[in-house]
Assembly symmetry: C2
Homo-oligomer: 114 residues x 2
């Protein structure tokens, strides 16, 4: 069993093109022994956002706090703490902080093939 | 894309033998179109706990709030909000509410083979 205190992990800048004011902590992934999927904690500062992009894998997101909206094919949708979002493979998406405080959400993805 | 407000889902009693004072909401799973894993929200009332058991699949847990401890092979370990726990396949485990309020945590598991 592996127990990780998320605050003990240094946040890493999300340096993917199109991301701004966003950090990520990899809570559980292959180095910790995860067999199938990775749990990441994102923190987005006011005005920040993740990339507007698509990829072949899904996201399962859980909003912890803050004012977040997700860009969907039909436009932006506001989210609140306690909301869960399934982004299907190849669905275009972006998470944006629309508030004045830090927004935090978990994002779980499948492990890439080794 | 599928957005689920967790409070809109009715909590289901966790009726597995050994579970007490515990409910679960399946936030994202196969019916929502999840390709690989399911996200569940557990709520455990004071004095409640999940079963002490093992199974062939892993858990990835994130503690949202409350006083929780997890039983490990080395005994109980206290957890706090923001802690992530990887329970490996076949590891014995149990989550217990040791506090006076409701404890809440997410638990992600792989989808069973169809």
């Amino acid at each position: 069993m592996r127990i990780v205190h998320s605050e003990d992990l240094p946040p890493q800048e999300a340096n993917e093109e199109g991301a701004t004011k966003t950090t990520v902590r990899w809570l559980i992934s292959r180095p910790e022994g995860a067999p199938n999927f990775s749990m990441r904690l994102f923190e987005v500062a006011p005005g920040g956002h993740t990339p507007l992009h698509t990829h072949p894998w899904e996201h399962e997101v859980f909003v912890l706090d803050g004012d977040v909206e997700v860009m969907t094919a039909e436009g932006p949708r506001p989210l609140a703490a306690g909301d869960a979002v399934l982004v299907l493979p190849e669905e275009r998406h972006q998470f944006r902080n629309t508030g004045d405080g830090t927004a935090r959400f978990l994002c779980i993805i499948p492990l890439p093939a080794e």
